[in-house]
């Protein structure tokens, strides 16, 4: 059974989760997460020592059986990696009883050793849960879910206090910032007598999209 969760914006501390049915039997559970991107607003995560991580969490209820919980990030690292970034692209953990607790894996960690912007983009993350008992069979599992998040460690969060950030609900800061720009023309009335469309002086914006997507625009004048 395959499940897919897509998100194009994540916040530090934010969580996306999906419940995946795990049934008794020998069908492995997989989930694909795509378009996970984190970056900053140019002020919050540009100092040395910041660390971001990609965390996968698996929880379940029931009287479980042994399973192998795995996360793989095959080739989806879309960002230019920050200085001294290190990551392990594959994490796996054997769970003796999948009903006993929440299990976490941290398959990817990036850090910065200089004042550079951290940006982390993942286009393809695969979660898997495979029964590994004697019969390769899930037994007694009632429910399970995968959860992905991009946390930042406490002291690093503290380092953000006092800096400009655009999301403050958890004092964690914005980790995905849409590309945006605004122009305001104040230097005098503009006239036209052109009966064919011509560019309005100053009203030009160039955006660079990291991934395909829509752009919203707004024009206000009198």
């Amino acid at each position: 059974m395959a499940n897919q969760l897509q998100s194009d914006r994540f916040y530090v501390g934010g969580v996306a989760s999906v419940a995946v049915p795990v049934v008794e039997g020998n069908t492995p559970v997989t989930m694909n997460v795509s378009n996970v991107g984190i970056t900053d607003n140019g002020s919050g995560y540009t100092r040395s020592g910041n660390v971001m991580a990609f965390r996968g969490r698996f929880t379940s209820t029931g009287v479980g059986s042994a399973a192998l919980f795995s996360i793989s990030i095959p080739d989806g690292l879309t960002s230019d990696m920050p200085h001294n970034a290190g990551y392990a692209a594959v994490g796996h953990l054997t769970i003796n009883n999948i009903a006993t607790s929440t299990q976490e894996l941290w398959p990817l960690i990036v850090s910065s050793s200089s004042d550079t912007e951290i940006y982390l983009g993942l286009s393809d993350v695969n979660f898997g849960l495979t029964p590994v008992n004697a019969n390769n069979t899930f037994v007694g599992v009632q429910s399970a879910s995968f959860e992905v998040s991009i946390p930042i460690t406490e002291w690093q969060s503290q380092a953000l206090i006092g800096t400009t950030k655009e999301a403050t609900a958890t004092e964690s800061g914005l980790v995905y910032k849409p590309v945006s720009d605004r122009v305001s023309y104040t230097t005098g009335n503009l006239d036209t007598t052109s009966t064919t469309l011509v560019d309005l002086t100053g009203a030009t914006i160039t955006l660079t999209l990291a991934t395909p997507g829509r752009v919203a625009y707004s024009f206000i004048a009198s």
Binding site: Y185, I205, L209
Partner: protein, 73 residues
């Protein structure tokens, strides 16, 4: 008024139409919209304008500027 993205007009050949039936009357011109899916990469987004006849004036000053913004969503 129209929005031009890489040479493609968002509102057709002529754009959004405002009928100024009396010379010297002021009108508020404001609009917003959303593009279709744009490819990854750089996109230049422009506001364009024209008149059907005579002269059009857009009032712009420090206290009365026009503002144009665009952002990915």
């Amino acid at each position: 008024m129209n929005i031009d993205i890489g040479g493609v007009k968002e509102f057709g050949t002529d754009g959004l139409y405002e009928n100024f039936d009396t010379a010297g009357y002021f009108r508020t011109i404001s609009f917003s919209g959303t593009t279709g899916i744009l490819a990854a990469g750089s996109h230049t987004i422009k506001v364009q304008w024209k008149v059907s006849a005579n002269q059009g004036t857009l009032l712009c000053s420090a206290n009365q500027p026009y503002q144009f913004s665009a952002w990915s969503i």
